[in-house]
Symmetry: C2
Subunit: 190 residues, 2 copies
């Protein structure tokens, strides 16, 4: 160790602590779900005292909301509707890189209630609303829900259950099969 104060540059940096907590929480919630992640684990992963978690976010549930709010709407906001389904599918299947783990978080926390459940529902609504614009069938809402359900189911079987052969299947193969099958579901009568 040098003579410098141990962490060059930033000590006493509230914004950095909040970011570290959000990042750590996002990772752990995606891996373990809401219930099985403890505030002590989050603070430990963030390298931050756990009391700060409550100072900055108020409660574990509020932190969960903040995480989902930050990451959840990202893809939704940056992807044009006609590509949302395949983009979500591909992002979910991507073997590496900063894939969006919102669905995983959603799934692993599906037992939780309270505010966490509310925000989960809200994001689901937004996804479905966008997907529903892809077809002009009279039951567009139902069709969108079914498409969303398939996305979530694939995420569940692949990421949470880790079931083979789906878990290590080629993303291209999965996309081809799914997109072919959903042609009858999400299409315009042109």
């Amino acid at each position: 160790m040098g003579t410098q104060p141990e962490q060059a540059g930033r000590r006493r940096d509230a914004a950095a602590s909040q970011r570290a907590l959000l990042d750590a929480a996002a990772k752990l919630f995606a891996e373990r779900g809401f219930d099985r992640t403890t505030v002590r684990e989050i603070a430990g992963e963030a390298g931050v005292n756990q009391a700060l978690l409550f100072r900055y976010f108020g409660s574990k549930e509020a932190l969960f909301e903040a995480v989902v709010a930050r990451n959840g709407r990202e893809q939704l906001a940056t992807t044009p509707p006609e590509r949302l389904f395949s983009a979500s599918l591909r992002s979910m299947l991507a073997p590496e890189g900063p894939r969006n783990r919102t669905l995983e978080t959603y799934l692993r926390s599906s037992g939780s209630d309270g505010a966490a459940a509310a925000i989960r529902q809200e994001i689901g609504e937004e996804y479905a609303r966008v997907l529903a614009t892809l077809t002009d069938a009279p039951d567009a809402g139902l069709r969108a829900d079914l498409a969303l359900a398939w996305l979530m189911g694939i995420a569940l079987v692949r990421e949470v259950a880790g079931k083979e052969p789906l878990a290590s299947a080629d993303p291209d193969d999965v996309c081809r099969l799914v997109l072919t099958a959903t042609k009858t579901l999400l299409e315009r009568s042109k």
Copy 2:
């Protein structure tokens, strides 16, 4: 109260206590998932002292295994393969009656690990193995996984998330849409 010993017929009935525990656990695990269900709740719902839960089943996790083992393979064993997909779908969509809540239990407990995860995986394998017999495509296993994923996704969106319009959609409509779409997925080249 009469002069009778409070519960006419059966006191000191180990088999009945075990059955009551299994029934109560099946209900609560399906409603709340493994983590959010406590042994005290199970014993309370069963009208049984919680120490008996450990005497008869050893641990909360072993009880979970017993529940899934009892209910999980029921439908699998009694349904011919070519009807398994639509039967599971319909059983899941059935608005009332003794529908099979295995998928719900599975979903709400998807954060759990250990032995619970192992038995979950095992049942998933069995479902997929049966579904894979429905097509002669070379990637039958992958196709079966995708079909299973859709089943689970629909259960998730409908039962756990309670998302409309899917949650209260007509089972016939759902079946029609899903079975049409999966035609390309599970078919024989005849």
